[in-house]
Assembly symmetry: C2
Homo-oligomer: 196 residues x 2
């Protein structure tokens, strides 16, 4: 039935902990937060929801709307919740990184260093944008509480912890990129001096 690469399944079940959602809703939720640690396209989500429904891990109902296409809303079933809980106890497999920018950085010395410089600068813009969106999500999660109170009293801190991770990841991205640009610029300056 399922391969070993089944985290998408649990990423979806985990997202449904927030409440009932359509495939379209999930696509948006993934876009703003889940994609930070598990990216998925809408097609993947629709397919996965189909399977989860077939396996009884989610319950589906069709909601007719006027002025809009029908939508199917999904909720976590008791079996789904149990499956998700059991999943948390199993060893996670190590992270598999996939960053095309770094493939380009690796080859920078035989390639177009200026273009790569540009890519790094764009990555910084992207990271700043992501951080701003994360900060909004954070405010929303806290719901008026201080971080300390929230983390002590809330009965649902998982999403906050993963959000913290997303934020510090992007901050780290920025730090690295700043340093890399500094290094590239210093070298570019040296080159122009040494080649009259």
């Amino acid at each position: 039935m399922y391969g070993v690469q089944m985290s998408l399944k649990y990423a979806v079940l985990g997202a449904l902990l927030e409440g009932e959602a359509s495939g379209y809703d999930l696509a948006k939720i993934f876009d703003v937060s889940v994609s930070n640690f598990w990216a998925a396209t809408p097609q993947q989500l629709y397919r996965e929801l189909e399977r989860l429904a077939a396996d009884g891990l989610v319950e589906a109902r069709v909601v007719a709307q006027d002025r809009r296409p029908n939508k199917r809303m999904f909720t976590l079933s008791a079996a789904g919740r149990q499956d998700l809980a059991a999943f948390t106890a199993k060893e996670p497999r190590p992270t598999a990184a996939r960053d095309e920018l770094l493939v380009k950085v690796q080859a920078l010395d035989v390639g177009d260093a200026d273009a790569v410089r540009g890519h790094i600068a764009e990555r910084m813009d992207w990271a700043r944008g992501k951080l701003a969106r994360y900060e909004r999500v954070r405010i929303h999660l806290l719901g008026g509480l201080s971080e300390e109170d929230f983390l002590r009293d809330s009965d649902r801190i998982g999403p906050y912890l993963t959000l913290m991770r997303g934020m510090s990841f992007e901050e780290e991205n920025l730090r690295w990129a700043r340093r890399a640009l500094e290094i590239l610029d210093r070298r570019a300056a040296n080159r122009t001096v040494q080649l009259p």
Copy 2:
């Protein structure tokens, strides 16, 4: 011929900038450094090398060994080097994250919080090990020079920049994990006090 997801191709070509290597060698190189930004299994590498050779981007020669199976050694061809250089100029696609640990952290509140705590602690051990190995690679890359001298004078800084990224990524991992454990432990302590 090729899809749009072609970074593995360039990760391999980039790794061959270091010199001639067999599929087996590449698997080891990926394991210690490249996998930090582009993970690949040996099977993927063998398949990719086959294709690269067919396309004339690498040159292959069979080396007969006694007491060992034959091996095929690959070198970057002029065409391969050009292709790699052209690749660096193109827009990189955004990073796609895949971290199963964070899927578990997200669902921690309905799952086995102690087990997840354990997974985070293991991730810290892993990160510390990775950092130690990176530090050895760093010393090797510097070849006796100070970082400043190396970054100013070397004609190949790409690998150093990606290594920096790998190191700061793991350091960030550690910082996040420490904070997460702190939070989980504080909550666990509160629970035992409040449930007599």
